[in-house]
């Protein structure tokens, strides 16, 4: 008590000390510009500016090799690139090939992945270890994955074919040298690498479903089907949507795996739009035309992306 009064007295005596903080002049407006500008500049310069550039190029007959840096002097041909492209049956085949890859791949990955998630969504020994381990493939470099599967899918000495042929005694599959098997190979490898992605997201959704809902259902003697249909699905679906959109987009953009595993072949049987674009741009160096294809490709991406981002934001809003 007493010493407190002394303390109080002393404090009263010593004049109140205001803070001496630095950077007071730096108000929030200034600060936010300071924080934001570097990021925005980099992105504008490296991501947006080139896009605009290529938009311009898509109206020219420019070719990097032929008239290297002198792109300003490239002949302006207006919409002709687009005209030729849209008339060209090639492009449409490429889109078909792409779709023929995207749809089955995402479907398989989704069913497989969600199934695994349902299986693993219970507590058992080593749960976290197992779930983490099976996630490894999606973190690996697609090039390495592609190369190594190429090794495993060899028809003569590949291990997979060994099982097919010598263990199950079926006739050999020419994975990389026949059209249909080549496409199946792509689906297979992408499934191997990206199913974990679906598993991860599905598990998140499943474990977020409050346990007491199932308990209530038990007390009401609900069927397993009711629980799945009325409790599990509705609560997990938003996350599943996100997962699927992500996969749709990535498989649509897929370049590296195709490039490494099949190189678009045999024939053109697996040459999807990205590979096609690449070959036009850096095989035959028709830069202008390639830019055109790029922009046609973008239409689809932008649609998917804006949808995806809307869902993501929604998710955020709900989580917050």
């Amino acid at each position: 008590m007493a010493d407190e009064e002394v303390g109080a007295g002393r404090r009263a005596a010593e004049s109140r000390r205001g803070p001496r903080s630095r950077f007071q002049w730096l108000n929030d407006t200034l600060l936010s510009t300071m924080f934001l500008s570097p990021t925005l500049v980099v992105l504008l310069f490296v991501a947006i500016f080139p896009l605009i550039w290529s938009l311009y190029l898509s109206f020219t007959e420019y070719s990097v090799i032929r008239d290297a840096g002198a792109w300003t002097s490239a002949p302006w041909i207006g919409l002709r690139n687009y005209q030729t492209l849209l008339r060209d049956p090639q492009l449409w085949q490429r889109f078909q090939i792409t779709a023929g890859f995207v749809v089955p791949t995402v479907a398989v990955e989704f069913l497989f992945g969600f199934g695994i998630a349902l299986l693993l969504n219970r507590d058992f020994k080593a749960r976290s270890f197992i779930t983490t381990v099976i996630l490894i493939p999606m973190m690996l470099s697609t090039v390495v994955v592609g190369l190594f599967w190429r090794f495993m899918l060899q028809t003569d000495f590949g291990i997979i074919d060994y099982f097919i042929r010598d263990v199950f005694g079926l006739r050999p599959v020419f994975w990389l040298t026949e059209r249909l098997p080549a496409r199946m190979a792509l689906v297979l490898v992408d499934t191997w690498q990206w199913t974990p992605f679906i598993v991860l997201i599905s598990l998140a959704g499943l474990s977020a479903v409050p346990k007491y809902l199932y308990e209530a259902a038990d007390i009401d003697q609900a069927s397993a089907w009711f629980k799945f249909r009325q409790i599990t699905l509705p609560l997990v679906s938003p996350l599943l949507v996100i997962a699927i959109l992500f996969r749709l987009m990535d498989t649509y953009k897929l370049f590296e795996l195709v490039w490494v595993l099949t190189g678009g072949g045999p024939g053109d049987s697996t040459k999807n739009v990205p590979v096609y674009l690449y070959k036009i741009a850096f095989g035959s160096f028709k830069t202008g035309e390639a830019s055109g294809i790029g922009y046609i490709m973008l239409v689809v991406v932008i649609a998917l992306a804006s949808l995806l981002i809307r869902v993501l934001n929604q998710m955020r809003a709900e989580e917050a």
């Binding site: 992105l43 896009l51 996630l135 190594f148 993501l312």
Partner: protein, 298 residues
């Protein structure tokens, strides 16, 4: 009582089936990795041997030959091919480390402050800005590749260190911004506000209170950016074929030229993948955020 016994029996069968299923899943996802590691320890003759030998020491005796060669000798194919003269695998590995390392540091630093701004300040058109930032990430690489290639040609940035690094920074930034914004949104504003009340400017508050809070998040984010840059193939193989190339194009080249030395390829891959596996384990808690740009938490 026998009712309970029946229940127990049923649950036992269920458990067995469950573990069988888990085993098969693990087999599917892990066998290729096992096969890669095993192959990397085989002599050239054993690599393509059928029936395959799966268990070292038991079925074949492992050798480090491949690893030694990877680190010392140039692959025969590459020598004849002429490119990569000065850069063997060690060089490529060093490049990978330096480039992805630099890109990661820069991206995380710039992205974090931007994310803070997005999380705390009222910014006109915030939604659109965030959308714009993320959308740059959604662009198909091949599409941007064309103009970027042109740009690099005309700026003379091909086969430079800074060119490719800047590119990876740009690739990493959107991710960092979204990730870190997610984390910042979870750090209560009251911390800064308390600090500001206690007599500090906002900048000081951020530096003294918020950043220390955010460091674990920043590290996790960094790992993802690092892996991204580490794995990138498309741009670097086109823009930096020369002395600033990284491991993925190098690997591809091994296959690309002449006779394929699978054992050696496997060894190279193992060296290249090992750090990724390690990192994946380190950030396992954050994988979910990582793959959803921080939109989905816990």
């Amino acid at each position: 009582m026998n009712r309970t016994r029946r229940r127990r029996a049923r649950s036992l069968i269920g458990r067995i089936l469950f573990w069988v299923a888990v085993a098969m899943i693990l087999l599917f996802f892990l066998f290729p990795l096992h096969w890669m590691v095993v192959t990397s320890f085989k002599r050239t003759a054993e690599v393509t041997l059928l029936p395959p030998t799966l268990i070292p020491w038991v079925q074949f005796n492992p050798t480090l030959k491949n690893y030694v060669e990877v680190l010392t000798k140039m692959p025969a194919g590459l020598l004849s091919a002429g490119t990569y003269k000065q850069s063997g695998f060690p060089q490529a590995l060093l490049n990978s480390i330096l480039i992805s390392g630099a890109a990661t540091v820069i991206a995380v630093l710039l992205g974090t402050v931007a994310a803070y701004a997005f999380s705390r300040f009222r910014i006109p058109g915030k939604g659109d800005l965030l959308f714009f930032i993320l959308s740059t990430r959604m662009l198909p690489p091949v599409v941007t590749l064309v103009p970027v290639f042109v740009m690099f040609i005309s700026f003379g940035w091909r086969n430079t260190f800074h060119g490719i690094t800047l590119l990876y920074v740009a690739a990493g930034l959107p991710f960092v911004v979204w990730m870190m914004k997610g984390f910042f949104d979870e750090i209560p504003r009251e911390y800064e506000e308390a600090a500001m009340i206690d007599g500090y400017s906002r900048l000081e508050a951020v530096w003294k209170i918020v950043i220390p809070e955010a460091i674990p998040a920043m590290l996790a984010t960094a790992v993802f950016v690092l892996i991204m840059a580490w794995n990138e193939f498309l741009f670097v193989q086109l823009l930096n074929p020369g002395k600033f190339t990284t491991v993925p194009p190098f690997l591809y080249a091994i296959i690309g030229y002449g006779r394929v030395e699978w054992g050696r390829m496997a060894a190279t891959s193992v060296i290249f993948l090992a750090p990724i596996v390690l990192f994946t384990w380190l950030v396992r808690k954050h994988l979910l955020r990582g793959v959803t740009f921080g939109a989905v938490r816990r």
